[in-house]
Structures are given as C-alpha cells and as structure tokens.
Symmetry: C2
Subunit: 244 residues, 2 copies
Amino acid sequence: METEYTTGPISLSAALCDAQGCLSMAALETRLIVAATRHADNIGVGYRDLMARGHAWVLSRMSVEMAVMPAILDTFSIVTWIESFNRHLSYRNFAVLDASGHPIGHARSLWTCIDIASRRPASLSPVDLCSARECPIAPMPRLTTISAPESVIPVVFTYSDIDFNRHVNSARYVEHIANAFPLDWHDHNRVSRLDIAYIREARPGDVAQLRLSRADGEVIIANITAPDGSDYCRASLTVVKREK
Amino acid sequence: METEYTTGPISLSAALCDAQGCLSMAALETRLIVAATRHADNIGVGYRDLMARGHAWVLSRMSVEMAVMPAILDTFSIVTWIESFNRHLSYRNFAVLDASGHPIGHARSLWTCIDIASRRPASLSPVDLCSARECPIAPMPRLTTISAPESVIPVVFTYSDIDFNRHVNSARYVEHIANAFPLDWHDHNRVSRLDIAYIREARPGDVAQLRLSRADGEVIIANITAPDGSDYCRASLTVVKREK
C-alpha cells in the first residue's frame, strides 16, 4: 500500500472548463475529492470498506491555493497523501502538478468519518500510511461567522446539488459562492486561495442565505447560512487580478 | 486517424454520483461531449483546430438511451464515431459499455460548426472518417414547443452554468430540468431516454421558464423558454420505474 496516490495525466477538455476557459475552483475541488477517494479505496479505507460498516468519509475543511489554474487542453496531475490521522479524522494534502511535473498549487483537507445513520462521528481503525511530503501552503484557518454581512443573497439548494451522501455536495457550495459574482468580475479576478469549512449538512429544498463580507486586502468572506442563523459552510476567498 | 475513439475504462468515483448513487444524465452527457471532443482533437477538427479559424462546435441535439446507469465504483467506457457529416454539421453516435464491454446504452448527437464572432453556421473541410457501426436506438426526434404547459417553474442561469463558449452549458439545462422533480421522485423514477434540442443560447443572468407537459405514456416534455416565448431548449424524457 502506497503512502501517495498520483492520478494519471489529465488533459483538460474544453467541455470541462469555466467561462474563462479554465478549470473552476469547484471542479478542481471535485477532482481533489476523487483523487482522495481513489487513494482511500487503494489503502482499504474507501467507500466500499466504510459502507460495509455503515460509515462514510465527510469532507470537513479544505484549503486550496493555486499559482495558476489549468486551462483548456493543459495537462495536469494530482498527488495526494495523508499528513496525519486519528480514529475519527484524517488530514490529507494534495499537490497539483503541471505537464512537466512542476507544482502549480497545493491543497489541505480534513476528513471526518461519520456513522451514516446517526450522522455522528464514527471510529475506524486507521492504516498508518502518513507521508512526510511537504505541503508548502499555510494551515487551514479557523473560519468564524460573519456578524454584519455587506450583502445577502438567497440560495436555494436543488436536486442537482445533492450527492450520494444525500446532502449538498461540497463543490456545489463553492459554485453557489462563485455565482454571487457576475461574469465580468470573473473575467478580471481569480480566486487564488479558497478556504472552506463545512459545518452543517444542507438538504434539497433548503433555503439559505449567502452572506458576504470583505476582510483585509483582497479577501472575501462568504457564509452560507440556514434560516436559524447557523452556517452550512464558511469560506474565505483570496482574490488576485487575472492575467490576460 | 481512427474512425472510432474509445475512452479508457472509467471507474465511477462515489464523489461523482447523484443522490441515487449513479451517474446523472447531465454528468453522462458531459462525458459523451468530452469523448466527442477527444475524437475531434485526434482527427484534426478539435478545439484548437477550429479555434485557429474562429470556429467552434456547438451541440445542437442529443438523444441518450440507457438500459442501466453506471453506479458507484462501476467501470464503464464510451465509444464514439461519426455517422455522417457535411460542411456545416456532423452526426456523431456513442455506445456506453459496461466493464465486460457489453453495451448498456447508446446516444446520438448532432453538432453544428459555428463562427464564434457571428454565432452563425460556418463551413469546415470535413475529414471523411465515418464508421458503419450501428447505433440501435431510434433517431433523434423533432421536438416541438409546448403550447399549454401543465406547470411553469422559474429558472435563473448563473455564472456556474456558463462554459468556455460563454453560454449556458448543454448539461446544465439537463440539470435544471432534473431540478423540477423532488428527491423522492428521483428515488422512484429514472429517465431511461433523454431527447434534447438546443435552439438558442442562454447567457448568465438570463431569467427563463421551465415549462412541463406530459405526453403519451411515461413521457415528460420540458421546454426552457425565454421571456419572449422562444425556447432555449426542448427536451423529452422517457421515464421508467427505478429498480430497487
């Protein structure tokens, strides 16, 4: 069993690109999750292994920092490895490599093992397969709720937002946040770092609020919040000017 | 240059499945489009080749018929080939194969070559690479507009609906149609055949109506319609009871 898993080279089809002709942050997050799932499958803590005990991995936090996003017909690959773990959770890191194997970005993530019926943390007998590979981006921050949002946008979760875990898919929250900004904004700006914490599960038909605020510099804080005021997720977006 | 293109075996990661633990019709359509794009790249009429002349392929119609949908950790592959073509358009078919190479579904599609600036049909010098491989599903039907819808649902297109062609992505219309039916409906029903015609390009921020009607038997007709009454797309969904 390998301490690292590397995807094959991925050639980014035009059909998988966003309006700027690049991989979107949401689509990248999905690819990171798929790579994590494949590694978990390979080392005996995958979907089938956990499902047999009524357990599942749930993504709790993720931080992604990209120097450049893959664009149409670029080739890239993803390396993933476990940094540390205990009986309930696992810290997993990622590197995104360009066609020549040079890192163009990194990610950190925190996964929790839950009991599917109770939705409470479950215990698993983890495999000690940590890698000492370095992840040269800042740790995942603690994200707090916005007390006085600058803008509030309604969000309705739909059937297509839901995944096999019967809750809103992690990447779909990222899409709902991206939707708060018009096409012209995306043409001129790029999210170079996304920090997101998944706090509470949303269900189809749930009506929520996207609350936005500005932090220091070019950082946007976004919460997706339930009617009772609790947050489904909290995110921080570091924004850079998009190169032409 | 090959008259057929076959994807590698695709193992369906849990993270890519819908609420029923299967590939969704929208996600399948995206994979068919990606396979078509790869084949076009390989035979010299791909994204880069057309972009160099200011042209692009636009999906005009698609019909997909699936005996069974791939589920979590199932392995499948896609074969695609050109049935016929002329200077402006191309009829392209698909077979979806299970892990043992047995067909579990087929699709037909019609692609139009457009001039990106004018959005009008363009001419290309096609390569004669048709295959005589059989596509054993009914031809793509002519879909007409609904005159008296049984229900009307508002649809708002967002940034995440837009692709590199700067219009609403083909598969996103399919998602908006799927969203009209609640989770419980999807738990008990499956779309075994989708026919869809893309008529007019929608842009982000466009506000539309999803109009639904019932045809003979278990067939649902769906139009996504602009405020002026013209249709962005028209679809027909053949519904079967989902096996447990």
